[in-house]
């Protein structure tokens, strides 16, 4: 009698558990009053896809000006090529943080913006004429940093640079490499964009569960990872020597063009802030975002306004960054203290994002999944 009761109780509870556990990633209807699907739709439709489309058209323009340049390598065409390169590079700052889906699968970011670029590898590739640009060994010999070198760093002045594409004994090799690198960037971007517009977008927006592999969680993980490594460390911290005994000025982004390094960093910071706040890429519409999610949860728990703190700390970092020399290479060499102060402000954003925001969202982070208690 007793045993039967017990067995029945046990059995029914285990049954309930079993059902509960088996469905844990199929729910799309959210049960609280926050619409995560809307957050993902805003991210996909108003931020990620428009930014990729813009990058794609920038790269199409870059391809066209590249064709013109290799047909007729002269100062005018070089200037046009450089203008298109910079435009695309700035758009890239809005794309790099979304290392998700196809981008993650094909290691898009690694083939677009690894710097400092390896000039020896580039020269060897050009000399040999046979190279696999997708090879991991060539990650530091392709993408925007490689173009930076090919367009600004080959010679001491513009005429010396143009000579490499005209009178140099291997001018054809230089032209081919320039052309191949740009074509490859364009191909990769098309691949990523097509995946988003054809199928991934719908998969992405419906993955709203709180699991390590859901879009809601991966997106914020990628975002924070990018902020910490791609922006804070790569653009400011590493050149300023934060992680080394001496400053490493030649690790700045855009080393050869020199004057764009601050502009690229400012653009990236804007991209980060816009994404956090859910601001559309093409216009100033504000949609549902992690900022609104944080605001909602914080209001619920009666704590101070974290969204405002994050935004004002980003402003503080921007103010510091803005005061720096356009050429961060010079800034590091002339007055690295200002560079370090910028890093400190950026680091405080990291704490707010990684500690306060993640705690508020209570998102499963992609750490080793061990048991808790």
């Amino acid at each position: 009698m007793k045993i039967k009761q017990l067995a029945l109780a046990l059995f029914s509870i285990i049954l309930i558990t079993a059902c509960t556990e088996s469905n844990d990633d199929s729910t799309s209807g959210s049960s609280d009053n926050f619409d995560r699907k809307a957050l993902l739709e805003n991210a996909a439709d108003n931020i990620i896809i428009p930014a990729l489309q813009d990058l794609n058209s920038d790269l199409t323009a870059l391809k066209a000006s590249k064709e013109t340049f290799i047909t007729t390598p002269n100062q005018t065409n070089l200037d046009n090529l450089r203008t298109d390169w910079l435009a695309a590079y700035k758009t890239w700052q809005y794309v790099e943080m979304f290392n998700i889906g196809k981008a993650e699968e094909i290691l898009y970011g690694f083939q677009m913006n690894i710097y400092p670029t390896n000039t020896t590898d580039i020269q060897n590739n050009i000399a040999s004429g046979s190279y696999d640009l997708t090879s991991p060994n060539n990650n530091d010999a392709v993408g925007f940093p490689a173009l930076d070198y090919l367009l600004y760093g080959l010679g001491n002045d513009d005429s010396a640079i143009i000579d490499f594409y005209t009178t140099d004994s291997n001018a054809l090799g230089y032209k081919n490499y320039l052309s191949d690198v740009i074509d490859q960037m364009d191909n990769l971007t098309t691949t990523v964009l097509t995946d988003w517009t054809s199928s991934y977008r719908d998969i992405f927006v419906s993955s709203t569960a709180n699991t390590a592999s859901s879009s809601v969680n991966m997106l914020v993980n990628d975002f924070i990872f990018y902020y910490e490594k791609g922006l804070r460390a790569n653009k400011v911290g590493i050149p300023a020597g934060v992680f080394s005994t001496t400053p490493l000025a030649d690790k700045v982004e855009g080393l050869y063009s020199k004057v764009y390094s601050k502009e690229l960093a400012l653009t990236a910071l804007q991209a980060v802030q816009d994404f956090f706040n859910g601001k559309a890429y093409n216009n100033s519409t504000i949609g549902i975002s992690y900022a609104s999610y944080v605001t909602l949860l914080r209001d619920n728990s009666g704590s101070s306004d974290l969204t405002a703190s994050i935004n004002s700390q980003i402003e503080a970092a921007r103010t510091e960054l803005d005061q720096l020399d356009n050429n961060l290479y010079n800034q590091v060499n002339n007055n690295n203290v200002a560079m370090l102060m910028t890093y400190d402000e950026l680091q405080r954003v990291t704490v707010l994002l990684k500690v306060d925001m993640l705690q508020t969202l209570n998102i499963s982070v992609d750490y080793v999944d061990a048991d808790g208690d």
Partner: protein, 460 residues
């Protein structure tokens, strides 16, 4: 008084509850080890990391390279032998040693329930859990089916350990964050929005409070409700519901199942005899193999434990330590949840949502300085755990100091830039950024290089 104690010690009981407990324990430990290996955790937690966080005084306990797999294998085989009752004493000692060694290898993985398993297996070394339905006692002297008897205290000691775990976990919940702010459940539960049926409920503020208060009352009362015969069945149903719910809501692995099976020990021997009878029938197809699984018949004279004179004092000391150790935090100033001085080994379960971000600055004699990239030395799991726990931070600071000294840096100093957030409070500095941690020796002294929380969590 002495008479009461003596008559209690002479009291005997059926060996069935302890036999069922032994079988359940062995099988669940075997499964836990297999599950641990199947998740790849042996490699990711013990082989991959280049640095391991040690418990104070146990820095000689380190993973054994690829022999770590052997260690887990021994632990798993010992668990299986415990279940079938084969060379029980040797198996349980081996299990206790191997399991405890595993837990001591890296405190990153500290869980209260692993500590519980270590304690339980230590206790079981002294109990005659193999008297019934085991390979060890195959030859029945006669053929009646009566269950052998063992001292009552050997079953009660398991009940006592379980009761301590629950009751102290309940005491720890009597604090203002848990009861008055419903923290950290207010952070954790809403994130379970994706659970069917429960997801909506988890958003309600009253649910957070209801869970907090129920959890506290459950932990405090359940030992008594299990001990009292009239409430036992309902208490056990509550145990099942409570632990299944925690399993659904939180990533706590095997612990709920271990507690559910363990709670069976509170029931009368008749239930356990039925379970054994059922097992006997279930195993009957294997009777040729397991034929020896039988019943030692020592019906009338209580089973005499050989070293009872030694065992009783050992257990008295063991339980005294268990009762006192959780209170050691009272010896430290400052907020327990913030400094974590005396936090572990005290059944403080699920009390904190705490995260941190910690950067280490190395300064050498010439004034040159740089920050360490933690992922050069730590796995992401280690970094996460290190970032908010002061003893981890200190140990890692010493590791870094030694590392850079050996690289030729002179007169190394290690400073820390550490922010942590506790139970929804805004992040603040945990460690004094002016303290050179490389000069500070680890000890049980108060860590005066920590900055205060500047908020009081009232309660126990």
């Amino acid at each position: 008084m002495n008479k009461t104690i003596q008559s209690y010690l002479d009291k005997s009981a059926s060996a069935a509850p302890l036999a069922v407990f032994r079988i359940g324990f062995g099988l669940m430990m075997l499964y836990s080890i297999i599950r641990f290996a199947a998740h790849g955790w042996i490699n990711s937690l013990y082989i991959t990391p280049q640095f391991h966080f040690s418990y104070y005084g146990f820095d000689w306990v380190k993973p054994l390279g690829s022999f770590t797999y052997l260690l887990f294998t021994i632990c798993g085989i010992a668990a299986f032998f415990i279940a079938i009752g084969f060379k029980y004493r040797l198996s349980i000692i081996l299990f206790f040693l191997s399991f405890t060694y595993i837990e001591l290898m890296d405190k990153t993985t500290y869980l209260n329930h692993y500590y519980f398993i270590s304690l339980l297996s230590f206790l079981m070394i002294f109990l005659p859990a193999n008297r019934h339905f085991s390979i060890d006692h195959p030859k029945a002297t006669d053929h009646t089916l009566k269950t052998p008897i063992i001292p009552q205290w050997s079953i009660d000691s398991i009940k006592l350990l379980l009761s301590i775990v629950y009751f102290y976990a309940g005491l720890a919940k009597i604090n203002s964050d848990w009861l008055l702010k419903a923290m950290p459940l207010k952070i954790w539960l809403p994130s379970k929005y994706d659970l069917p049926f429960l997801g909506n409920l988890m958003q309600q503020e009253w649910v957070h409070y209801a869970f907090s208060w129920t959890g506290m009352l459950y932990d405090l009362l359940i030992p008594f409700l299990l001990l009292y015969k009239k409430t036992r069945l309902w208490a056990f149903i509550a145990v099942v519901i409570f632990h299944v719910l925690t399993r659904v809501l939180f990533p706590i692995g095997m612990f709920p199942f271990i507690m559910i099976v363990s709670a069976l020990v509170f029931f009368d021997s008749s239930l356990h005899e039925k379970i054994i009878a059922y097992l006997r029938r279930f195993l009957s197809p294997l009777s040729t193999l397991l034929g020896p699984l039988s019943r030692k018949r020592t019906n009338n004279k209580p089973f005499v434990i050989t070293y009872q004179k030694v065992i009783i004092p050992v257990l008295v000391i063991f339980f005294t330590i268990q009762l006192v150790l959780p209170w050691r935090y009272l010896a430290y100033p400052g907020e327990l949840f913030w400094t974590e001085e005396g936090y572990r080994f005290s059944w403080r379960v699920m009390l904190m949502e705490k995260m941190g971000n910690t950067q280490f600055k190395i300064v050498d004699g010439s004034g040159q300085s740089f920050y360490v990239q933690n992922d050069d030395f730590l796995t992401s799991f280690q970094e996460k755990q290190m970032s908010f726990q002061p003893d981890f931070i200190l140990e890692y600071a010493h590791f870094l100091g030694d590392h850079y000294s050996s690289q030729g840096y002179k007169d190394v100093k290690v400073y820390v830039d550490c922010y942590a957030a506790l139970n929804g409070r805004t992040s603040r500095r945990l460690v004094d950024p002016k303290a050179n941690l490389y000069q500070i020796k680890d000890s049980f002294q108060h860590k005066d290089w920590l900055l205060p929380l500047e908020d009081e969590i009232k309660g126990l």
